[in-house]
Every structure is written in structure tokens, then in C-alpha cells.
């Protein structure tokens, strides 16, 4: 091919790419403009009035909290059990869901010699379905059967966690080196032993890192589910907000607790993940 031909081809490709980028930008702009227009029409309160009122509520509760003075901290203290409950929902759901995720991930990885191989396909579909179920639906359904309690939220979050972590874990498994597993097979190790010693040591750091991330997400999810009747800090929020004026200090206290705990967990989890990524002591 002559230099000229190559040049024109490159030019053509560049032109095409530019066209695609332009089309993409136009499309996104169109979606945004028409979307916000439509959303504004469908919304009960409009954007402009909303903007004016935006700070009303936050400033109202801040004022009430300020008025409460020192006793604000007492109010916060009163809600610590609710916070603990929310954290427990997230903690138990992460552990139960995470354990289930490990099992599902091992059965749903194509490279680990799971027999018969259809099990892998079936388990993957199960994980997809578990992931797709919004926690809200499972929680509402279980609240209907079990009654208002943290347990429905815990189960709902655990199911979603099992699906979401299971998928990530199985991706980690499928990147694991097969040689150690083969080495153990040649010694006559059982499937479980091969997984325990051949795969788990390779994947554990990645597992932990994903787990920490998921725990943080689960704390947020647990707080939200409380709002539909699952207990914990969300339930208290629903109560204080439902009271309207007068409970502003309580609402502010609950907001404060939630924000603080999320901040702490966020910092902790990124600290641990950084340590896991940069590797531990090489003994």
C-alpha cells in the first residue's frame, strides 16, 4: 500500500471516529435535556420552586439541633442502639452473604473442575438472579411474612451480597493460577482440599478487598431498608421525619450518626484495602 493510501485510510478512520464521538455526545445531550424536561413534568414539585426550598429543610433541622444545645449529644446517644442495629444488619448480611458467595463462586468458576459442568452454568444463573433482585422487594416480601424486624433486611441484603460478591469472587477464581491445584491433585487431595490450599491462598487478598467494599455498601443499604420497616436507624428516621416539625434535632442527630459511621467505615475499608493491595510482609 502506498503511503498516500495509508494516509487516506487513517484520515477516514479518524473521521469516522470523530463522527462516532460527535454522535455519542449529541445523544447524551439529547437524553439529558429531554430527560430532565420529562422528569420535571412528571415531578409534583418543579425544579425552580424546589431550588428555592432546597435549603429550607436542612437549615430547619440544623436550627433545631442548634437550639437543643448540649442535649443534642444526648439525643445522639439515645440513637446509638439504632445505629448498632443497622450496623449489625449490614455485618450479619455481609458475613452470611459473603460465605454464601464463596461457596457459589467456587461452584460457579469454569476452571476449577466442578463436576458435572452444568453446575457451573446453573450456579452462574442463580448468582445473576440473586444480584438482579432489588433488596427492597425481598425485604418487603419478608416483612409481609415475618413481620417488621431487622431480619428481613438482613436476609434481603445477604441475598444480594451473595449474588454480587459471588460474581466478583468467581472472576477472581478464574484468574487464579492452575498449577498449584494440579500439584495438589497429583498428591491425591480431594476437591475441597484442592480449593482450600490450591485456590484460596491465591484469591483471599482480593476477596477481602471486595468484601470490605461490599460491607460499606451494605451499611448504606441497611439504613435505607430500615425506612420501609426493617428497623435500625432508617426506621427511627422514618418516625422522626413523619412527625414533621419539632423532631428536627432528632433527625439531625440521626443524620449525624449515619454520616459519621459511613465516614469511619469508608476510611477503615480504604485503609485495609490499600494494605491488601500493596502486599503484606514477605515473611
Amino acid at each position: 500500500m502506498s503511503l498516500y493510501a495509508i494516509q487516506t485510510e487513517i484520515m477516514a478512520m479518524e473521521k469516522k471516529r470523530r463522527l462516532y464521538s460527535m454522535a455519542g455526545i449529541v445523544l447524551i445531550a439529547a437524553v439529558l435535556i429531554s430527560g430532565y424536561g420529562l422528569a420535571n413534568d412528571l415531578n409534583s414539585g418543579g425544579f425552580l420552586t424546589g431550588m428555592q426550598q432546597f435549603f429550607d429543610y436542612p437549615s430547619e433541622i440544623v436550627k433545631e439541633a442548634w437550639a437543643a444545645g448540649f442535649s443534642f449529644f444526648l439525643v445522639m446517644g439515645r440513637f446509638v442502639p439504632a445505629l448498632v442495629e443497622t450496623l449489625n444488619i449490614a455485618g450479619a448480611a455481609s458475613i452470611v452473604g459473603g460465605t454464601l458467595a464463596v461457596v457459589l463462586a467456587f461452584l460457579g468458576s469454569a476452571n476449577l473442575g466442578v463436576k458435572p459442568p452444568v453446575v457451573v452454568t446453573i450456579v452462574r444463573r442463580i448468582m445473576d438472579i440473586m444480584r438482579a433482585f432489588p433488596e427492597l422487594i425481598i425485604a418487603l416480601f419478608l416483612i409481609f411474612i415475618l413481620g417488621s424486624s431487622p431480619v428481613p433486611a438482613m436476609i434481603a441484603v445477604a441475598i444480594h451480597t451473595a449474588g454480587a460478591l459471588g460474581k466478583l469472587f468467581s472472576e477472581v477464581n478464574e484468574n487464579a493460577d492452575a498449577d498449584p491445584v494440579e500439584g495438589l491433585a497429583s498428591c491425591g487431595a480431594t476437591w475441597l482440599q484442592r480449593m482450600r490450599y490450591g485456590v484460596l491462598p491465591q484469591v483471599l487478598p482480593n476477596y477481602l478487598s471486595y468484601f470490605m467494599l461490599r460491607f460499606e455498601i451494605n451499611v448504606r443499604a441497611s439504613a435505607i431498608l430500615g425506612f420501609v420497616g426493617a428497623g435500625g436507624i432508617g426506621m427511627e428516621l422514618r418516625r422522626t421525619i413523619g412527625w414533621g416539625k419539632g423532631a428536627g434535632d432528632e433527625t439531625a442527630a440521626l443524620f449525624m450518626l449515619l454520616i459519621l459511621s459511613i465516614f469511619v467505615i469508608d476510611q477503615l475499608s480504604s485503609f485495609i484495602r490499600r494494605r491488601l493491595v500493596t502486599g503484606r510482609d514477605p515473611e
Binding site: 422528569a39 412528571l42 426550598q53 415475618l146 424486624s149 459511613i262
Partner: protein, 452 residues
């Protein structure tokens, strides 16, 4: 082949053998302790959640009820004793779905109403006397007297556990699909049928009389049922405005939820990207500015979607705009943080190369930076979009509207489980479609066209 087994000499006292052993034992103890702590913590949470009490209090029959109602519908045959003995036959007992002429399995004559419940089950209603014919048991007589409800079982039959008979009420449900209730005020017989009732057209609509094939032919026929509009329009309008299933409202709710997710995520991504540039050490030398932007990200993320939603619901009321803004605020923080990390990881060589060509600032970004972070940008945005469809259902349930709110309301009425089931199916389909599409695009992006 040697049959001799390898014998390692009796464990020679190797120096440090005890140290090695105790080291191994320590790590094994750590594993056990870790597992034990996890189990203990779970036990503690279960106790604090009062799990045993909860299980004993749970109502599993509600799940059965819900499951039956979700996939089947029932027809009520009601005889009001007080209302001058009036008889009504209606789908789910709704007045709008009352049969003008009784269906074939109900025969009404002057003194007798006979309800055929199939497979040998039959109910005969004479004035205030009900005879419930049950296979293998025989006729059960129920009479409404001034003294109360009198139930007579055939001789030598013990009352089965699916039958409750007191002087106030008789209630028998020999199978999931058949039920007879008698109280002083009324006699009520339920017969269940599989499937959703009147899913396409309302009970009263003349369109219910046609089979799918006939409907198809009718849709393109010139003989108008309604002179005002072509048949296909009539069919669509009837379907769209079906009061039992509210297809229009459901569609709008789904659209709202989808709008919340897509607007929120797009806004977050487009606002997050320029902010991320300000937060990345290799693009923004001013440390103070970087610090401020990063704290803004932390603030937005830390407030949490729940609180943002509550604030926006107060200010903007019900609707997709509210949900979109709540998502946008939270995820501007999350995506901004991710993008700035991606920016800090970009390859400086490529950027310097572009610089060396004497490119201006805009060209520098266009050729040196954007090609490198576009894959991260698009795949993370899609990933968040996927998750936000789920989040949008929850925000909706908090009060922002959309399918989430519809679902909560449908569940709270504790009736029409078929509608709840339908909404659940739609929500999950929406989520799964989003999952699949975004997974496809992401894998195209990573494995397909590389780089730019």
C-alpha cells in the same frame, strides 16, 4: 514394582522443629479463632434480632396465600342473608367484575343455587342451608339458625384440620383452590382458576369475548366495533386504561424509575469528571484546591443516598426529578473519586508525547488524556447505572415515586397479589435488561475496540 514403602528416618530432632511446629499451630489457631469470632458475632446478631421469637411468630401461610394469589384468581359466589338473599357472582368479589348471567359451573333456580367446584366437590345452597359435598367425606350440612351456625358432618367422620366450625363461623378449605365460608351475614364460595384475570381487557369490555386469533383478525378489520376509532386503537386504549392492571400508570412508573437512574448517573458522571481533574495530583498542582475537591467528594458520598433522597423529597416533592438529583449528588462523589484515581494512574509518557508536539491545552486533553481514561469512564458509569436502577426502586419507595412506590403501595393494601407479582416481574426484568446491556457494552469496550 517395588512394594517397599518409603520410610523417612524416625523424625530426626531437627533444630528449630518445635519453633516451626508452634508457628504452624499458631496460624491454624488464628484461622479457628477467626471462624469462631464470626460464628459468635452471627449468634449475637441473631439473638439481638430476636430471631427465634420472630420465626415462631412468622406466618408462612401468608407466603402460600401470596403465591396462590400471585398466579391464580378466584371467583366469589356470595349470598347475602341480610340483603334479602341476593346472590352475586364476581371475579375477586369486585363489583366491577360481576357476572350478569352465571357461568356454566353455577346453576341458579328458585330455591337452589348449585356451585360445581369440579372433581366431585359441589356446594348446594338452599336459602339458609348449605350442603358441601366433599369426595371421600360426604355431604357436610351447614345451617344458619338464630342460635348460630350449626355444622353436621357425616356419621363417624372426625372434623379435618382444614375445617373450622364454630357457632359464629364455618370455614372449610379442603384444597388450595376451593373455599366455603358461612357466617350469619352471608354465604361465600370461592373457586380458584389459574392465570391472571382480565390482564388485557377489563371484565366489562366487549373485547374479552374474542380469542387471540380473532382479536388479531379484528385489529386489521374495517368493521369497527366502536365507530369512533379503528379496532386496533380501541384494543390498545382498552388495554392501556384497564383499571385492574393500570398498564399506563405502571409504564409511567417504570419510566420514572429508569429516568431517575439514567439522569442521575449521567449527571454524576459528567459533573464528576471535571471535578476529578481538579482532584488528581498530576493535573492540579494546587494542593489546597485538590484537598477541597476531595473533601467535596467525601461529603457527597458520606451524606448517603438515603439522606439526599429525604432532603430532595422535601424540596422537590414526588417524582423522577427528585430521585435523579439524589442519585446525582451521591454518585458525583463516588464517580468523581473513582475518576480521579483513574486519572492519577494514567500513563505520563503518552501525555508528555502529546505535550512535546506543541499541542494546546484542549488538544492535550483530547489526545493525551481522554483516550486513556475513556474506558474507565464508560465502564464505571455503566456499572453505576446498573446499580442505580436498583437504587432508584428503593428511593422511589422512600417517597420519590416510580415503580418502587407503586410496589410498596400495592403491598401495603395486602390485596391484589397478582399486581404485586406483576410489578416485581417488571422491576426485575428492567434490572436484568440493564445488567445485560451494560455487561455487553462493557465487555465490548474492554475486549473489542481497544484504547480510543
Amino acid at each position: 514394582m517395588a512394594s517397599s514403602t518409603l520410610a523417612i528416618q524416625p523424625p530426626a530432632p531437627i533444630s528449630g522443629s518445635l519453633a516451626v511446629f508452634s508457628r504452624l499451630r499458631r496460624s491454624s489457631l488464628m484461622i479457628m479463632a477467626g471462624t469462631g469470632l464470626m460464628v459468635l458475632y452471627l449468634l449475637y446478631t441473631f439473638i439481638s434480632f430476636d430471631l427465634w421469637h420472630l420465626i415462631s411468630r412468622s406466618q408462612p401461610q401468608r407466603a402460600v396465600l401470596l403465591a396462590t394469589d400471585a398466579v391464580a384468581h378466584k371467583v366469589h359466589i356470595t349470598k347475602n342473608i341480610r340483603g334479602a338473599g341476593r346472590l352475586s357472582i364476581a371475579v375477586e368479589g369486585e363489583r366491577t367484575a360481576t357476572y350478569e348471567t352465571p357461568p356454566g359451573w353455577v346453576t341458579v333456580s328458585d330455591d337452589l343455587t348449585r356451585v360445581d367446584l369440579a372433581q366431585g366437590y359441589r356446594v348446594d345452597i338452599y336459602d339458609t342451608h348449605v350442603i358441601f359435598q366433599i369426595p371421600d367425606i360426604g355431604p357436610v350440612h351447614v345451617r344458619i339458625t338464630d342460635a348460630g351456625i350449626k355444622t353436621t358432618l357425616p356419621k363417624g367422620v372426625d372434623p379435618p384440620d382444614w375445617l373450622r366450625a364454630t357457632s359464629a363461623k364455618f370455614d372449610a378449605r379442603p384444597t388450595l383452590g376451593r373455599r366455603v365460608q358461612v357466617s350469619k351475614a352471608r354465604i361465600e364460595v370461592h373457586r380458584y382458576f389459574m392465570g391472571w384475570e382480565n390482564f388485557f381487557f377489563p371484565f366489562r369490555s366487549e373485547l374479552t369475548a374474542y380469542s387471540p386469533g380473532q382479536l388479531f383478525a379484528l385489529a386489521f378489520s374495517d368493521q369497527r366495533i366502536d365507530p369512533d376509532m379503528p379496532n386496533w386503537r380501541l384494543m390498545f386504549t382498552t388495554f392501556w386504561k384497564n383499571p385492574g392492571w393500570q398498564h399506563k400508570q405502571v409504564f409511567v412508573a417504570l419510566l420514572e424509575t429508569f429516568l431517575m437512574a439514567i439522569l442521575g448517573t449521567l449527571t454524576a458522571a459528567l459533573v464528576g469528571l471535571p471535578l476529578a481533574v481538579l482532584a488528581a495530583a498530576n493535573f492540579t498542582p494546587a494542593q489546597a484546591l485538590r484537598f477541597v475537591v476531595r473533601r467535596v467528594f467525601d461529603f457527597l458520598r458520606g451524606i448517603d443516598m438515603l439522606i439526599w433522597s429525604l432532603i430532595f423529597i422535601r424540596a422537590f416533592g414526588l417524582g423522577p426529578l427528585t430521585g435523579a438529583l439524589a442519585i446525582a449528588f451521591t454518585d458525583t462523589g463516588s464517580l468523581g473519586k473513582l475518576f480521579s484515581e483513574a486519572l492519577e494512574g494514567v500513563n505520563n509518557k503518552q501525555m508528555e508525547g502529546v505535550h512535546a508536539t506543541g499541542a494546546n491545552r484542549l488538544q492535550f486533553y483530547r489526545f493525551g488524556v481522554i483516550p486513556q481514561i475513556i474506558p474507565v469512564f464508560v465502564s464505571q458509569t455503566l456499572y453505576y447505572l446498573e446499580a442505580n436502577v436498583r437504587s432508584a426502586t428503593i428511593i422511589g419507595a422512600l417517597g420519590a415515586g416510580g415503580i418502587g412506590l407503586m410496589l410498596v403501595e400495592a403491598m401495603n393494601t395486602q390485596r391484589h397479589w397478582e399486581n404485586v407479582f406483576y410489578l416485581i416481574l417488571l422491576t426485575i426484568s428492567l434490572v436484568m435488561v440493564m445488567d445485560t446491556v451494560s455487561a455487553k457494552v462493557r465487555s465490548r469496550l474492554i475486549h473489542g475496540r481497544s484504547g480510543t
